[in-house]
């Protein structure tokens, strides 16, 4: 529990071909470095779960790691489309991508059910939308007290959750603050977890708005400064908005994407 590892070593040990993995981080603290390490290690047939697939999943999909995407919103926030995701869905390049599509509320509740050891969650959602006709992991349940019919979504329990946090202490307690998204739920729902952190400190002083994931629910921690770039790590660095804008042109074309991937991911290390 909460072993300190190198990033490459951690990915090799925890992420296997065919796994269902969740890289979470809601705009903030996106574990991009971990995603790129998964690309470098050539993982295949992954089911990628994430509320908001953004550039990190665009890169993984373009690199051919993914067989299936479980998601709610797949775009480049504030910029536009994810071209690699679109190419996979629209043209099957580099491989066809199955979609399991939910809403944010549904995804959040799927992780929460997973973290709670429940097989499903109940919410008001989806009613009247066409998601009902296309998403098989969607059903209804009747309130035994009022007779009201509500939406039901199955728990999401990834094989591995990967998140990025500001820091950990030497025991492996992980601390994150700012927008903390659904990361606690993802880690608690997953069978294994890898947390990349900006730094390891002797002791975690308490911080306003911080949550702590205790050492005994975290599998491995990899010190990875800048591991959330181009997203941001509150208190460490800002969002690189320019990277997001530039990604639009880089990713629009297969060749330019492949060239970028070779230069900036595969060839690095």
């Amino acid at each position: 529990m909460a072993e300190l590892v190198g990033l490459a070593e951690g990915i090799a040990a925890l992420v296997h071909d065919g796994d269902t993995i969740a890289l979470e981080g809601f705009t903030h603290l996106i574990p991009v470095a971990a995603g790129q390490e998964i690309i470098r290690q050539g993982r295949r047939d992954l089911t990628l779960a994430r509320m908001t697939p953004d550039i990190v999943y665009d890169q993984m999909i373009g690199a051919g790691c993914a067989r299936r995407l479980v998601f709610a919103w797949g775009g480049n926030p504030g910029v536009g489309s994810l071209h690699r995701l679109r190419d996979a869905v629209e043209h099957g390049w580099p491989a066809p991508l199955e979609l399991e599509e939910h809403s944010h509320a549904g995804m959040a509740n799927r992780y929460a059910a997973g973290a709670s050891g429940l097989p499903f969650a109940v919410l008001r959602g989806y009613t009247g939308t066409d998601l009902v006709r296309h998403t098989t992991t969607l059903s209804t349940v009747t309130c035994p007290f009022t007779g009201e019919v509500l939406a039901a979504v199955p728990a999401l329990n990834p094989d591995v959750a990967v998140i990025h946090a500001q820091r950990a202490d030497r025991r492996g307690n992980v601390q994150l603050w700012g927008i903390t998204g659904v990361q606690k739920e993802a880690v608690l729902a997953a069978k294994r977890s890898l947390v990349t952190v900006e730094e390891v400190v002797d002791a975690l002083d308490r911080r306003p708005g911080a949550i702590v994931l205790p050492w005994w629910v975290v599998t491995a921690i990899a010190v990875t400064p800048g591991g959330a770039r181009p997203s941001y790590a509150q208190g460490y660095y800002d969002r690189d908005n320019r990277y997001y804008r530039d990604w639009d042109a880089i990713s629009r074309d297969r060749d330019s994407f492949t060239g970028w991937l070779d230069r900036h991911v595969v060839g690095v290390r």
């Binding site: 809601f26 705009t27 903030h28 509320m51 908001t52 998601f71 709610a72 919103w73 797949g74 775009g75 926030p77 504030g78 489309s81 994810l82 995701l85 679109r86 869905v89 629209e90 599509e101 939910h102 809403s103 944010h104 509320a105 959040a108 509740n109 992780y111 929460a112 919410l123 008001r124 959602g125 989806y126 009613t127 009247g128 939308t129 066409d130 998601l131 296309h134 009201e148 019919v149 700012g178 927008i179 903390t180 998204g181 659904v182 606690k184 739920e185 708005g209 941001y232 509150q234 800002d238 969002r239 908005n241 997001y244």
Partner: protein, 251 residues
């Protein structure tokens, strides 16, 4: 004073927030309008972002719904499951701001796929995100959509978020607690649902826009209110604050 169609649209949306307590904000035009409203017409307006920031007061317009400034300036930051379950779902939020790639005469929205079929779409859009539940649960929904035959369509290719469904009574039948779209603000004018038929009806033109331009930009036979109003021009103050906001945010 000159202004663009987008500026009129944004100012009209900001004005629509007068008297509201809270607003669930997505990125893009809704965020610009809500932040403009907080500076001008509704200083106490509570901005709620789906990233979990409640009462955010950003000085710049965030590029993403989870920018650091949102958390730093918020009254409270909660988890993503909490923002949807405790704050959005019970109908605590007055107004939900939404946009879409396609919209039909009953305010149903598509942000999922255009053309082809769902498994093999011509264009894959980002998907639902928070929209279906924002459309369902907010007391009222304001839509901000640039108007064209491509966006204002007879039938949306995919219902991502429900407006009035197939017409009167559908929201109740579906168990959607919010009132649905109360206002559609475009770059040409303003549409409101007819109280009886629920069909979106043009009630106002933006300054300098003529009716023919609006009907030409609508993919169905557009209903027009008997007394068609005109949006008051953006004031110098509104334009100055808006331009300052946009200018500061692009730095």
């Amino acid at each position: 004073m000159t202004f663009t169609a987008e500026e009129v649209m944004t100012v009209a949306a900001a004005r629509a927030l007068v008297g509201r307590t809270s607003c669930f904000v997505g990125i893009g035009l809704p965020s610009t309008a809500a932040n403009l409203a907080r500076r001008l017409h509704a200083p106490d307006l509570v901005l709620v972002y789906e990233s979990g920031a409640i009462g955010a007061k950003p000085a710049r317009l965030p590029l993403s719904i989870g920018d650091g400034e949102l958390a730093e300036t918020a009254d409270a930051v909660v988890s993503v499951p909490e923002i949807f379950n405790y704050w959005l779902q019970p109908g605590r939020i007055d107004v939900g701001f939404l946009s879409a790639a396609q919209l039909d005469r009953f305010g149903n929205l598509n942000t999922t796929v255009v053309g082809g079929d769902y498994r093999h779409p011509q264009t894959r859009l980002p998907g639902a995100g928070g929209a279906p539940e924002i459309a369902a649960a907010c007391r009222e929904v304001i839509l901000i959509v640039r108007q064209s035959r491509r966006t204002f369509v007879e039938r949306v290719d995919f219902v991502t978020s429900v407006g009035f469904g197939a017409g009167p009574g559908d929201r109740e039948r579906l168990g959607l607690h919010g009132r649905g779209p109360g206002l559609v603000i475009t770059d040409l004018g303003v549409l409101e649902p007819d109280p009886t038929s629920c069909e979106l009806t043009l009630t106002r033109l933006h300054p300098g826009v003529d009716l023919a331009a609006v009907t030409a930009a609508t993919g169905w036979r557009l209903a027009v209110a008997p007394e068609l109003g005109v949006t008051p021009e953006p004031t110098a103050d509104e334009l100055a604050v808006l331009r300052d906001l946009v200018e500061r945010s692009s730095r």
